[in-house]
Amino acid sequence: MNDPIQIIYEYLSESGTALATLLGGRIWSPVVAAGFKNEEPAIVFHPSGESPEAPANVIANTIVFKCYGGDATFQSARDVAKALYDRLHRARAQTTTGEIMLSRCTNMYQGGEDPDTGWPFQVAIFDITTQ
């Protein structure tokens, strides 16, 4: 069975892309790294349901991304979500540990403010099939 989180992480972390330049490695799952203070853009993501499909080792994932902009504005969070969309929507790619076969953004909305810290974030939901 493939590891969708690892595959997606590898794809998003690939250096030389606009997203990687913007995030500088601040891509985490399932929560932000200790010490992060929303002073730089970052993305946190987690699976929100999956269903194995035939043939074996193919998984259709629903992945929820929370985009933090690195400041107290929703606009910055939206900019990060836009960069994520540009990188991941309709992506097909081979990574070290697997393959993104299909990726589609199904929803994007303003997520409100984090209850613990007050950081604004944007939510982006993708259906991503991996193998």
Binding site: P30, V31, V32, F36, V44, H46, P47, S48, G49, S51, T62, V64, K66, G111, G112, D114, P115, D116, T117, W119, V123, I125
Partner: protein, 133 residues
Amino acid sequence: MSQTIKISSKFTSGIELTMQQLTNATDYALKAMAMRMAALAKRPPPKGSPVAGVRVPEWSWVKKTKGPGGHNRDSIRFEKTDHLKYVVRTETGYGGFLELGTSKMPARPYMAPAFKEAKGEFIGHLKEGIKAA
């Protein structure tokens, strides 16, 4: 050159009846889907989940449950809010934080998986509704 097409009143009333039946069937299917989604969202967390052993304090305003935890699950409701529109929601005020997680707490999605599963059964409910109409 022109052509005139006449549609009898019997035909149009037949269409109206069909449209009404289709609307009723759709409403039936949406209601069944909302009920199913609410039921699925109330499923207890799997064994080993960090929320499985959470207890409601004695002083809490939250309604007590038979077992430990589960007050967000108990607050899940569905209701019809408009024509062909049903909403499934929680009443605890923190259901969204559980669904999406916070900067310090991993997400524990329950609504999105329930919606995904219930959505897959919509066509079946619609067929039932059409048969019953």
